[in-house]
């Protein structure tokens, strides 16, 4: 029974990793840009929520609602002013610019908030749990998982049911032809990054409330997100959720055997999938 409990915790942890990964996946799908600062942007979002909570005294969920539009605008400007300049056939500029951004964000946060670990307090919700028979699960992990599913459903609806989603898909397939139809790729890209920052804000809320964080935890979140995306197969958001769950379960199982093996077990699971299914579990057929 303890194993079942461990696996359940792993599945719920996978929801958090899917939230980390969804923004990364969205941006990559539309403009083939891998943002190496993605993890640091999540941490940046967590600090923003922390500030709103402590200055305005709001509940973290309301604070996230305040932070979301700020992150949205930040993402739009970042893409329009900086990242759009790096797009092209050469893969070096986007990689090196986002790597630079990652270093700037990490050290900016270090300067502003010191290396002390922080936590966004949720009050009683932090320890609340529900039990079904012998198995119990925390309310917060359940909410994280539900949020991950909601985000994926919402992004899929956005992609396939709305005009902006059509513009995303058209620009992703062929930016030149899309621009002939009156779509401006630079604005589409800026909008996509802005929406990714909304997802980042949600990820930041759960990152900050579920565990301690400090300015240096970003790169590890980027790696988990990346592993989830690759395991799931590029371009499939549900695959990304499955990838997150695999990493999450591998980590909790590893930790159950030896606490020092938690992170290592996640990486090993990723390498195994890469070995057996190099294109991921649910690749989109091309």
């Amino acid at each position: 029974m303890i194993w079942l409990d461990t696996i359940l915790q792993g599945v719920l942890l996978g929801g958090l990793y899917a939230l980390f990964a969804a923004g990364l996946s969205l941006v990559f799908g539309i403009m083939r840009l891998v943002n190496l600062a993605h993890g640091d942007l999540i941490v940046f979002g967590a600090y923003m929520i922390l500030i709103v909570v402590s200055v305005l005294g709001l509940h973290p969920f309301l604070a996230a609602l305040v932070a979301a539009p700020v992150m949205f605008v930040f993402g739009w400007v970042l893409q329009k002013a900086v990242l759009n300049r790096t797009l092209g056939d050469d893969i070096l500029p986007p990689l090196l610019v986002t790597f630079g951004l990652s270093i700037v964000l990490q050290n900016g946060l270090l300067e502003g908030f010191s290396a002390d670990s922080q936590r966004i307090s949720m009050g009683a919700l932090e320890t609340a749990s529900v039990s079904v028979g012998p198995i119990s699960a925390g309310v917060l992990p359940l909410m994280t998982f539900a949020s991950a599913i909601l985000v994926i459903v919402a992004l899929n609806q956005l992609f396939y049911r709305t005009a902006i989603g059509r513009a995303f898909r058209a620009t992703s397939d062929d930016p030149v032809t899309a621009s002939l139809m009156g779509i401006r790729p630079d604005r589409v890209f800026a909008t996509a990054t802005a929406i990714a920052m909304l997802v980042v804000t949600i990820a930041a809320l759960y990152l900050g409330t579920r565990a301690n964080f400090d300015p240096n935890v970003g790169p590890a979140r980027l790696i988990y997100a990346f592993e989830a995306v690759i395991i799931g197969g590029l371009g499939s958001l549900w695959g990304t959720l499955a990838g997150g769950i695999i990493i999450g379960v591998a980590q909790t199982l590893g930790a159950a055997i030896n606490p020092e093996w938690q992170i290592l077990a996640g990486h090993v699971a990723f390498l195994l999938v890469l070995l057996i299914r190099p294109r991921g579990l649910f690749p989109r057929g091309h």
Binding site: L36, I91, N107, E260, L264, L271, L274
Partner: protein, 353 residues
């Protein structure tokens, strides 16, 4: 008048550069005779960072393989040296070669996994493997596990060359060890630059440039692009491992977090190459000097220093993607280590610059 043509890469500037480099190397070899211990340590840092930068530049600038996981090879090389010295009682200087070999061995499975990923995903894939290496080494209790260990003093005292330097320069053992590692770093840096220059001027270098510029076109004229990627990746890993072993021989103390640090062994190296000029041999040389100057000026400001470095890196990539050396060579046409082949002699006039 005879109409003989010849193909050459040499230019006036490159001939002068060769002579200047030789003089510089002679001065650097003699440096321990007149330089302070602090200066020797600074030069050691510059030379080892230059070696790491040249190998990363070979990977990314010439091979198109942007790795964010080079710290794996620094760390595994360093730990192989510590393992050989502490557990096997091996000679520390000879163990540097073992450091290179250990990195080479790790590079084979790394390439096998990472080459399944393209572009940016390759970058993060190498990072994952570096993390796996760090976490695995942290489990190795014989060399201190997660907290790390020191090189035993007895092993350091037994190095024959150190005793010789002690008497020749009349210095203490610790200073003599700095001089020895400095000379080794000088040999490594010079051999790296000469080796990469030779590689780029050879047939393999031409194939490499062809693959970087257009993989499909290169394949169509019979270049084995996949093989070139392997050659470049394994060469870089070997050289990075040698540098890693040497760096930690000088430090005499190691921990997994330091030896596998992404900031120290990959981020700094990327900034050196990007600021100096990616895809040239001159770039990393200029870059490491700029990097050292910035560090000397700003090191006291801690995280501000890294922020400034990151911002400069972003600005260079956006506005001068070929780096400082690119700007200089565009304006003046100077190439100190030219790899472009030109046809000279016969009825053709010299290429106008």
């Amino acid at each position: 008048m005879a109409m003989t043509y010849s193909v050459t890469t040499r230019t006036g500037a490159s001939s002068i550069a060769m002579i200047a480099s030789l003089i510089l190397v002679v001065v650097l070899v003699a440096a321990p005779a007149f330089a302070s211990r602090g200066l020797i340590q600074d030069l050691f840092f510059i030379l080892t960072m230059l070696t790491l930068a040249q190998f990363w530049n070979l990977l990314a600038g010439y091979g198109g393989l942007v790795s964010v996981g080079q710290q794996a090879f620094v760390g595994i090389g360093a730990y192989a040296l510590y393992g050989a010295v502490i557990l096997g009682g091996a000679d520390p200087v000879l163990s540097i070669l073992l450091a290179g070999l250990a990195a080479l061995v790790l590079a084979v499975p790394t390439a096998y996994f990472a080459f399944r990923l393209q572009g940016a995903y390759f970058a993060i894939g190498t990072w994952v493997i570096a993390e796996v290496a760090r976490l695995s080494v942290a489990q190795w209790q014989a060399v201190g596990g997660g907290t790390g260990t020191s090189l035993p003093r007895s092993a350091l005292r037994e190095i024959g060359a150190v005793n010789w330097i002690e008497t020749a320069f009349d210095v203490r053992a610790s200073a003599a060890r700095d001089i020895l590692t400095y000379w080794l770093a000088l040999i490594l840096a010079v051999a790296t630059i000469a080796g990469i220059y030779w590689l780029l001027r050879s047939k393999a270098g031409l194939a490499l440039a062809a693959v970087r510029d257009n993989t499909e076109a290169a394949r169509s004229v019979g270049v084995d692009a996949g093989r070139m990627k392997w050659v470049v990746f394994l060469t870089s890993a070997f050289g990075t491992g040698l540098a890693g072993g040497l760096i930690y021989l000088q430090k005499a103390r190691i921990s997994p977090d330091a030896a596998f640090s992404v900031t120290d062994w990959t981020a700094y190296v990327i900034f050196i190459v990007v600021i100096g000029g990616i895809g040239t041999i001159e770039g990393p040389i200029l870059g490491v000097l700029v990097f050292f100057a910035l560090q000397s000026l700003l090191a006291d400001y801690g995280s501000w220093y890294l922020m400034v470095l990151g911002l400069i890196g972003i600005a260079v990539m956006l506005f001068a993607p070929r780096g400082l050396w690119g700007l200089i060579s565009e304006r003046t046409g100077i190439q100190l280590f030219p790899v472009r082949r030109r046809l000279v002699g016969g009825a053709l006039t010299q290429e106008e610059t």
